[in-house]
Symmetry: C2
Subunit: 524 residues, 2 copies
């Protein structure tokens, strides 16, 4: 057979537009897409066993590769399963191209069992969506989807089965030039420069592409020259860190700590960051973290060219100032029982050059920023949208995007279980991912939140029912068994020495590993 | 503290309306709900590690208990994770009450990271939804949600954090009488009776509550007296089967087989079933399975009182006819290598009295209907909406609803991985679930579908990329390791004898077990 059907046109058009990886979890409606893959060998299809793995992988792939991957999802329920990590991608302004198979156009009227309102679920997370109407158009639809995604959004192309299988001679569509990312308006630069040089207390709050080394350097020059306090958003899309890069504090997750960081500011200059707000509402605490009376100056939004704006500001305000780069510095390798503190020190002591750190460690990662600030240069990726179950999938995407770099996935236990099947894809693709699975047998973050929201005082009787919902200890999860069952070599450690040994072993053997780090819960 | 806040009012009102089980996966916004649980000990909270487990459990709970359970989900992403199994619940017309925590009402304006359009995702699957506005109203909102659900739909109540934590003296809300389920109109009975007694070829196509023993008996009396052909919808919500119950064929999944079942019919009488359509579209095959020229008579819809309508028809058409009940009959216990055929025979030979069979076996379950038709009386539940990842969660709900009955969960491997963390809940709650995990190391159903949709002919080159997306063999999943890691005792079998031994062992030890049945894929 030749490849002159819609599916072939779609895949070849994706490739022509620079999308050559597809994280896939197909079903019947996508069989012609699957069948067309061998005809376009430039497209790499990576099988995931759950759609949330595909979408989380696509998010992290974009963050590291700088261009979108595609996902292949099966009708409304498949799209639905991918939504939580698309939420994270949306909050990261990641570029993702979803291809969602649908019933043949003429079949929709029968309301067959898998029929649903795909537009509704697609619209929840997507900044762009289109229902492809014919095999003749689907290549151009794909090019439009990629262009839309490249502007920093999630583009969802719904692909009816007959659009896949119908013949077409439309061929491969030309790439479409994406809308450029916004740049700072000169007035905004002027206004920010005035605030920063006013001598009044000023916080320079940055995010977006300003979290990479160049943006951080420019921001630090401004801070050094003006006395402004430099802060980065709390869950950056991609942050460069380590020796030779400017070290920057991130906005704290806990409201009181964040308020302390911002207190006294009379100007808040936003460059690639949104105005700071509390992650959750807490009784008697503010949601808007901007101090009363503080003036907010937005230079450029989160999808804009933030680093360029900072460089412009730095040239104005700090032409002679050099950035203060973090010196190389590592914690001593600790000994003794594994705790959050010793585990953190081990990570800091051994993190390799060029690592990509996927951080979904939650409470077990307390102290990581300080412990790794002087480690060899590395990237840090966070779940920007707060939807858990992102880490193991994101590791897939980062490793596929950067096959020559080690990926360290620092993963909490409760969150891991949402998308645990990602481990199988780690193994199938032989990805160089070392997962540190912090097993504290609890939703420790929720124990903290129970206190934070003042709910603990409402617990009555013996509190057994409430406690049970925050406890993962009965039965205790055995992540060595789980990982082994999915083809990932795994080891359990409960001392700092064993943890260090396991990390060294993993580093010496490329491919996936899981280290189950048994740590006491930070919040008992 | 006393319990006079919104969360307490909500939970006590759910209990007063007959909802006393909550499948929960909470987060920060739900902490006051969690804290209030010990104050209403009649509410049983069952922790799941993923929202799709909670919703699948709630679906099956309703099917077996005949009343809704609640779920507790965390904001938009938590709702999103639960959608796929809510899709199945919607297609089953199950009653489910979702409680979805949200940011405090005054926090929404900050567009914090977890903020999203909950109404959009809730609306995708829910027949009823409400955003609760105050602690004073939330009890009444809960009562309204339960009433809406009881009419055969999914009711979603969005619960802002401040509605949970605000004080109220509104107390426990009175139950609301649900809208009665529809009954057959007398004209529809008359029309159907005329068709059935016309002497012209007639198919009596039933579903809904007609799949229980009484409805099946009435339907069979009609069929026996009139010569009509009796067929049940292909994926019943809950079907009673086995010795002493009328055996009935289900509509085939494969289009050609279904067309054959319906061919020649001049009248199609629908009682609790929707008019038959193809599950998917296939090139050159019809989507509407009703034969050309056949007249369709709808007696009552799927949520209606179908069994009662059949009894009315039977009294008209077959007053003296007795139903033909299936005799007790079991396959011989086979010996030798485990195959789909021998595994099916073992299940038929050993299925215990009163079992609840959760069937997500897909291709590995071929032949099960025949092999179990004469087994001791049991219930069969299917994923009505075709969204996979339903079986292991549904087993939770069935076991919680019917603690004195053995649950056999017949589960395909690929589908299992979508919601594999359900096994942990099997263990935590010590549920009497025996999971038969058919490991054929493939998405065998998709190998079949690749052929069915004619896509196989489009595979080019060596077909390696296409084949890889349907293959689960590299690495092979080890479900014994995975289950053990989640606290479920597990054993792998590859002979019929070992399979039978394992089933007997599981039956002798109440509580969860997993038997990994190694079977060759039905479609190589």
């Amino acid at each position: 057979m030749n490849g002159s059907n819609g599916a072939h046109a779609l895949i070849s058009s994706l490739v022509a537009s620079g999308v050559d990886v597809c994280f896939a979890n197909p079903g019947t409606s996508e069989m012609h897409f699957v069948a067309a893959l061998d005809g376009v060998p430039e497209m790499r299809a990576v099988l995931t066993l759950f759609e949330g793995v595909a979408t989380g992988a696509a998010d992290a792939y974009n963050r590291m590769a700088g261009r979108p991957a595609a996902t292949l999802l099966h009708l409304g329920p498949g799209m639905a399963n991918g939504l939580a990590n698309l939420h994270n991608a949306r909050r990261a302004d990641s570029s993702v191209v979803n291809v969602v198979g649908d019933h043949a156009t003429y079949h929709a009227k029968y309301d067959a069992p898998l029929q649903s309102d795909i537009a509704a679920v697609a619209g929840w997370a997507s900044g762009w969506q289109r229902h492809s109407g014919s095999a003749h158009d689907v290549g151009a639809d794909a090019a439009a989807a990629v262009a839309a995604a490249r502007a920093g959004t999630i583009a969802t192309l719904v692909l009816p089965a007959d659009v896949s299988w119908d013949s077409t001679d439309a061929g491969t569509a030309e790439p479409v030039t994406p809308t450029p990312r916004p740049t700072a308006h000169p007035d905004a630069i002027t206004s920010a420069a005035e605030a920063l040089s006013s001598g009044e207390p000023c916080v320079l709050f940055i995010g977006g592409d300003a979290a990479l080394a160049d943006g951080l350097a420019a921001a630090d020059r401004i801070a050094a020259a003006t006395g402004a306090k430099l802060l980065l958003e709390n869950f950056p899309t991609r942050m460069e860190r380590g020796a030779g890069v400017v070290a920057v504090d991130r906005l704290a997750y806990l409201v009181d700590a964040a308020l302390h960081q911002l207190s006294g500011a009379e100007h808040l200059v936003l460059v690639g960051a949104r105005s700071p707000v509390a992650f959750f509402a807490y009784p008697d605490k503010p949601g808007d973290l901007v101090p009363p009376g503080c003036r907010v100056h937005e230079v450029v939004g989160r999808t804009g060219l933030a680093a360029a704006a900072l460089e412009e500001l730095a040239d104005l305000l700090a032409p002679e100032t050099q950035p203060r780069l973090a010196p190389a510095a590592r914690p001593e390798l600790p000994t003794g029982p594994l705790t959050v503190e010793t585990a953190t020190a081990v990570v800091g002591a051994l993190l390799p050059e060029g690592a990509i750190v996927i951080d979904e460690s939650l409470t077990s990662g307390a102290g990581l920023p300080a412990a790794t600030a002087g480690a060899p240069r590395h990237d840090l990726l966070c779940a920007t949208g707060g939807a858990i179950g992102w880490g193991l999938p994101a590791a897939v995407g980062a490793a596929v995007a950067c096959p020559d770099r080690p990926v360290w996935c620092l993963q909490a236990d409760g969150s891991a279980m949402y998308t645990i099947s990602a481990l199988w894809t780690h193994a199938r693709e032989n990805l160089d991912i070392t997962t540190v699975l912090y097993n504290n047998s609890a939703y420790a973050i929720l124990r903290l939140e129970l206190l934070q929201v003042g709910a603990a005082g409402f617990v009555t009787n013996d509190g057994k029912a409430a406690r049970a919902l925050l406890d993962l200890g009965g039965p205790q999860l055995d992540f060595v068994s789980i990982a082994t069952g999915m083809g990932v070599p795994a080891v359990r450690v409960d001392t700092a020495e064993a943890f260090a040994d396991a990390l060294r072993t993993a580093a010496a053997e490329p491919g996936p590993h899981l280290i189950e780090a048994m740590v006491p819960a930070l919040v008992p």
